[in-house]
Amino acid sequence: MGVHQPLNASRTGALWGVLQDVPDPEIPVLSIVDLGIVREVHDDRVVLTPTYTGCPATQVIERMVREALDAAGFDSVRIETTLTPPWTTEWITPEGRDKLRAYGIAPPNAPGERAVHCPQCGSAETEEISRFGSTPCKALWRCRSCAEPFDLFKCH
């Protein structure tokens, strides 16, 4: 049919490549792979996990993945969802953390790290304004050095 079907050996690699190009609808600078919500990729199925139980983006993401897979000729690949183990911000990739910072969102603190750094000026002189922010995964913070408010991706 003219649709490019990769050889089996590289099939999962090609699937990862397709998923790497699917952006998170809330934070489009991140791909769903950067976000760590793609849990498994097999020849015949991909397994996703939601960030938060009530995250409204979950259904949108599933639809976007379906479209991306279909467009790449992987229309026989199933999409499955799992809750176990629960998603954690520790699964955000190092590239994902860099992209968040560049986008103006402070990445979640690594385990043991206490200070929240302003994504604009890098200062650690910051304070929480609101525990909940514009989406379930973010809190609202403010930098006392440069006075800019910013989103913090919450540790979860």
């Binding site: 139980t53 995250c55 176990t84 525990r131 909940f132 379930p136 609202l140």
Partner: protein, 281 residues
């Protein structure tokens, strides 16, 4: 539909004695299924009703930050409800999904505790209710993460991380208002006083809960109560508030005996899907 031939008790006895040992060979246990369905309705309805209640604050909270907080907690709760009620529908096996259970049951069929259907009142009353509920739900989900049903365990393990946030936020507000001005202190004391009589229902061990406990589907409620009391004591001490005086407990939500408040809430919540049954998002 032709009905199945009745099962004679003696056949059932034989069936039980010859039950094969493989995990997937066991006959579907109707009692187990009924108990699991009942407990899933309780869990799902608690989350659904409180989520809807908190949604009433949207656009009315004292500040935009609080508005965001309450809407976010509501969203988490609706997410829990979706998981629990979808699973309940699956267990029931009569073709109902989470939406059908949420929008096409009437008041008497709801199994939520009375605490969650109480009116928001003022902000202090809402936060009093939130602390009393989230402190319970946190400890409950901690236990349910080890449920004998792995699907329930997965939902609880996922949701408990969010509930920890709810409990923390509510505790901070109870402390801030309790240890605040004369006005805020009086309001928080009133809020706790109003909600207090609905706390015993959270730890009620009725027939279904006892049965569920025996099947590893519900925790030991006395143990739950111990941790809960300790937590409340800490928060109230920091809020410089005394625990409300013991009141006569009000029970019945788990059996569908609700206050008038729930009917009004459900009327608002169900209006659209009932009026336009085929409407899709």
């Amino acid at each position: 539909m032709p009905s199945l031939p009745p099962i004679r008790p003696e056949d059932e006895e034989v069936a039980l004695k010859t039950r094969p040992g493989g995990a997937f060979d066991a006959p579907v246990d109707e009692e187990h299924r009924a108990t699991l369905f009942e407990m899933l309705l309780r869990l799902g309805d608690d989350s659904l009703i409180l989520g809807q209640r908190l949604g009433e604050w949207c656009g009315h909270a004292p500040s935009v930050e609080v508005d965001l907080s309450l809407a976010n907690i509501a969203l988490d709760l609706i997410g829990q409800a979706t998981h629990f009620l979808n699973l309940a529908g699956e267990i029931e096996g009569r073709g109902r999904d989470g939406d059908a259970l949420a929008f096409h049951r009437d008041v008497l069929d709801f199994r939520n505790c009375l605490l969650v259907e109480q009116p928001n009142g003022d902000f202090a009353q809402t936060m009093a209710r939130q602390l009393l509920f989230s402190a319970w739900q946190k400890r409950l989900f901690d236990q349910l993460a080890a449920s004998s049903d792995e699907r329930v365990a997965a939902i609880a393990a996922k949701a408990v991380k969010e509930v920890a946030y709810h409990e923390e936020l509510a505790a901070e507000w109870v402390i801030r208002l309790g240890d605040g001005t004369d006005e805020s202190r009086a309001r928080m004391a009133d809020g706790l006083d109003w909600m207090w009589r609905f706390v015993p229902e959270l730890f009620e061990l009725d027939e279904a809960a006892a049965d569920a406990n025996g099947r590893g589907l519900w925790p030991d409620v006395d143990l739950l109560r111990t941790g809960y009391d300790a937590r409340l004591q800490t928060v109230l001490a920091e809020a410089t508030l005394d625990a409300p005086k013991p009141q006569r407990p009000i029970l019945g939500g788990r059996r569908g005996h609700h206050s008038e408040h729930l009917g009004h809430l459900i009327a608002v919540m169900q209006f659209l899907p009932r009026t336009y049954p085929d409407a899709v998002w």
